[in-house]
Subunit: 138 residues, 2 copies
């Protein structure tokens, strides 16, 4: 198993993900989210959220972001640093849409309050028993 | 039950805490930690850590911090914003020291790699089913 496969395993097992932004006063802000609704390896991650949310507004002003996944009891974790874009990509929206989403977006897939966060990782840090360390992501 | 009691209950139930800093490139950095080793209400929180750790160095340069506690399955969470100080307070060190800490600090309570992080909250945001919202902390 390569390091990338191990990290993908750790990420895909988690039922919660943590996303962090920097607010207008320079403070880090962290929030628990559902797991990403779409992911490409350890490079690209998508979440759906409300256009009106605090996080959306923060990332539009400052895309510097960190995402974090961890297995609490075992204390294995991975932090990825990169850019969070707020995007209105109908192709991805159609791909991820589920009927139950009307709970969040009552007007359906065209609800103006339905938006995507797209994170692109540049580097990361793994925390584990044996091999804690930094890595770059191509 | 007051809001403060509810928040203290949520915080004291968690087996993991998340602390965030802003790194030298302006990116938020998040890390899972054990629960705080000492706490005064929802105002003051202490963790012990390694003097040599990345987090310690970041907070010495920029004390702006966020701490986060959440009950993953129920998706109740509280984010507190404030300042993280790196302090060498022997009174608190003596209060929190346990024999097992030599696992982290082989030289014992006087190990130069044993330091405290002290977080003082100024404001917060609660995420819950009914009453998500911001609050100030006196």
């Amino acid at each position: 198993m390569t390091g990338k496969e191990m990290l993908e395993g750790l990420i895909s097992e988690q039922t919660v993900s943590f996303i962090s932004s920097v607010d207008e006063n320079g403070f880090p802000n962290t929030k628990a989210m559902l797991p990403p609704c779409k992911r490409d390896g350890i490079k690209t991650f998508y979440w759906h959220t409300n256009t009106s949310s605090i996080r959306t507004k923060q990332y539009l002003k400052n895309p510097k972001a960190c995402i974090y996944f961890c297995n609490g009891p075992a204390f294995k974790g991975v932090m990825l640093l990169g850019a969070m874009e707020v995007i209105d990509d109908m192709k991805v929206k159609k791909e991820i849409w589920k009927d139950g989403f009307t709970m969040y977006y009552p007007e359906g897939i065209n609800d103006p309050d339905f938006i995507l966060l797209k994170f692109t990782a540049k580097s990361g840090r793994y925390y584990g028993d044996l091999n804690t360390g930094n890595f770059e992501i191509d």
